[in-house]
């Protein structure tokens, strides 16, 4: 049986980000792309599930950057059996979550997996997270903020993190969709020499797809928040400093 992992490349927020002259997107020429960190956890969780159950992991991605191959080859090197890349007239665009889900649904239906895993969120999913969106379109049960899962007797048991360490354990009938926050263990390391070997020996299946409606998120303008800059120095006696600290925390609902 099959477990699908959806993997996405996103602008690297470690780099400085600039806004394009249009004002509605990043300056894509200046952006560097990295794998969405949560998708890496989704892959790890899928591999762990598959190792226990004998399922086959298929990595699927939409290539909006022209650079998705590296990500998919790495997934193959880590243990995915197949990698499928969707390409089309959307390179360099900011794909909305809704559009991404519409592109993915037919592929997922064709693969007929018992689980779809993807990262809990991405730095650019303005119109909502992918996992619940996919679940809505597929009509499958789902949970996200997942921090652990197990396949038992035709259901998947998932641990979903709420807050303050409280977790919710759910049992979902299959097929189901999971948005992974953290795999049970840190994503494994695969040496580059293995990735390079896979690049020589394995191949990525490429499918040309039509750009769907609502391709990009509806943004009026992007802007950079005002920089706080360096620390604002609190002055006065220790008592006055303590008062200010408490005030600051109260104002932010931290006390």
């Amino acid at each position: 049986m099959t477990i699908v992992v959806v993997m996405e490349q996103v602008p690297d927020v470690v780099e400085e980000l600039a806004i394009a002259p249009s004002g509605t997107d990043l300056d894509r020429d200046a952006v560097s792309y990295v794998l969405n960190e949560y998708d890496d956890h989704a892959l790890e969780e899928a591999l762990l599930l598959a190792e226990a159950s004998g399922d086959e992991v298929v990595a699927v991605g939409i290539d909006t950057t022209g650079e998705l191959d590296q990500t998919l080859y790495t997934a193959l090197a880590k243990g995915a059996r197949r990698a499928i890349k969707l390409t089309g007239d959307f390179e360099g665009t900011w794909l909305s979550t809704r559009a991404a889900a519409r592109l993915l649904v037919p592929v997922i239906q064709e693969l007929g997996p018992r689980l779809v895993l993807t990262g809990v969120q991405a730095p650019d999913d303005l119109d909502g997270q992918l996992a619940p969106t996919l679940a809505a379109l597929l009509g499958w049960p789902h949970a996200s903020v997942v921090i652990g899962s197990e396949l038992v007797d035709g259901v998947v048991q998932v641990r979903k993190e709420l807050w303050g360490g409280i977790t919710m354990t759910l049992e979902l009938e299959l097929p189901a969709v999971l948005g992974v926050q953290a795999a049970r263990q840190a994503p494994r390391y695969v040496p580059i020499s293995r990735v390079r070997q896979v690049m020589r020996e394995a191949s990525i299946e490429t499918r040309e797809v039509e750009a769907p409606d609502g391709l990009v998120p509806a943004v009026t303008t992007l802007r950079v928040p005002e920089q706080a800059g360096r620390a604002e120095i609190l002055t006065g006696s220790p008592a006055e400093i303590a008062d200010r600290i408490i005030e600051l925390l109260r104002a932010r609902g931290l006390l």
């Binding site: 690297d12 470690v14 780099e15 400085e16 560097s32 990295v34 840190a186 494994r188 390391y189 695969v190 040496p191 580059i192 020499s193 293995r194 990735v195 390079r196």
Partner: protein, 433 residues
């Protein structure tokens, strides 16, 4: 055939033997028989020795010479002899923390009669561990992932690699901007580009180069980590990827020589880039500055009232044979009194940062009484020196941190040679660092 070389064909063990009236009966004469010792399975030794590069692991004959010179044994329980012995007793190196503790300092190789070479064994064994899906320490994994994504182990944006230049106060030409041939291509490397204390040394060196009128330029954002320590940590594939990219970048520009800040880069360019098609004339900056001493000496006008000692970086000294240049530079500093540590030159101690140790800090500390860097700063202090001079970019941060954690920070400052030279030239203030 020399009869003494003839094999004993048959041995009788007599029940009694009386020689010149003396009864010497006993099992003594069994020593002439051939014995095969099957006490220990050689399998785990073979598993390592069959890896390309790791053959010499099996050559050890347990003489023990390597143990007292191993810097890790000084603060722990280590050395090739012990690793071999542990493999005999059933401990698989591939699954043991021992796999990550060797800094590839090469001090054992210097004394080993059998040429057991940890500098080759370790990367081969580590790569094998990774390829067979064994977990690697998280700190190291992050450094490797960062290097693959950003081209530096710190995970800093590639574009910021040249950001330090604007604080240099002197021109630091960048090749993609100037588009002209230069005499010296300065390979700055990662820590000197990004780490605050590394940047201090880079600025000092930039000012010295300018004062000497050297025709130089850097690659800036196009430079990626030379990758030597990643290779030694077991990531040969990552090393090759970086080397191929760096070689392509270097091919775009015209220059005569490369000067490197980092001895690890020196090692990579000298010994490993040529195999991948990158042939360069590479110098460590101390070698270059020592050659320029006639020009440099008159510029060293300020007297520095310091008592200094010097730490030989493993990858400059033992690995690449440069012991004298740094010493010539130190001795040229007016006012400076130079004292050697007991462990110096060929027998120098190791800072602990090599071979991936830079990214195994907490991991290693969990298996050692104290860090190698801490052992070393205490040795430096014991000479009565007030300044520990270094010339490898891993070391300023490591030793400054170690001086803090051993409580000698008030007594020992850590300075790059470039910083001291620049200070004596009046190019930086005393507390610029």
């Amino acid at each position: 055939m020399d009869p003494s070389l003839k094999k004993v064909a048959e041995v009788w063990e007599r029940e009694t033997a009386i020689v010149e009236g003396m009864d010497i009966s006993g099992p003594w004469n069994r020593m002439f028989g051939q014995r095969v010792i099957w006490d220990y399975s050689p399998d785990l030794i073979e598993e390592i020795a069959q890896l390309p590069g790791a053959e010499s692991f099996a050559w050890c004959y347990q003489c023990g010479k390597c143990v007292p010179v191993c810097p890790v044994d000084v603060v722990g329980d280590y050395g090739p002899r012990k690793l071999y012995r542990r493999a005999q007793t059933g401990i698989n190196l591939l699954d043991s923390p021992d796999l990550w503790l060797c800094t590839t300092c090469a001090n054992c190789l210097r004394v080993c009669p059998k040429l057991v070479d940890m500098v080759q064994i370790m990367p081969a064994a580590r790569e094998h561990a990774m390829l067979t899906g064994r977990a690697i320490p998280a700190e190291l994994q992050e450094a490797l992932e960062n290097t693959a994504i950003y081209g530096n182990p710190l995970g800093q944006p590639a574009r910021k690699r040249e950001a330090w230049v604007k604080d240099a106060g002197v021109p630091v030409p960048i090749l993609h901007q100037i588009q002209r041939p230069v005499e010296w291509l300065w390979w700055v490397e990662c820590y000197p580009s990004y780490h605050p204390r590394g940047i201090d040394a880079s600025i000092a060196l930039a000012r010295i180069f300018n004062a000497l009128g050297l025709d130089f330029a850097i690659l800036g954002r196009e430079e990626k980590c030379a990758g030597d320590s990643q290779r030694l940590a077991g990531e040969r594939g990552l090393f090759e990827m970086l080397a191929e990219e760096n070689i392509r970048t270097l091919a775009k520009y015209e220059f005569r020589h490369i000067v490197v800040t980092d001895p690890h880069a020196l090692n990579a360019f000298r010994k490993h880039y040529p195999k991948l098609g990158g042939q360069y004339d590479v110098w460590h900056y101390t070698t270059l500055l020592a050659r320029e001493l006639p020009k440099l000496q008159p510029l060293l006008t300020k007297s520095l009232p310091y008592r200094v000692t010097f730490h030989d970086p493993c990858y400059l000294g033992r690995h690449n044979g440069e012991y004298d240049a740094p010493r010539q530079l130190i001795q040229a500093l007016p006012g400076v009194e130079f004292v050697e540590m007991l462990r110096c030159r060929e027998n120098s101690y190791c800072c602990g940062g090599g071979g991936g140790g830079m990214w195994l800090d907490s991991f290693a500390a969990g298996h050692q009484r104290r860090r190698l860097s801490e052992e070393r700063v205490l040795e430096a202090v014991s000479t009565g020196a007030d300044t520990l001079v270094v010339c490898c970019p891993y070391e300023v941060s490591r030793f400054e941190d170690a001086a803090k954690s051993t409580g000698v920070e008030g007594r020992l400052r850590v300075r790059d040679i470039a910083e001291l030279l620049a200070e004596a030239m009046g190019l930086i203030g005393e507390d610029a660092a």
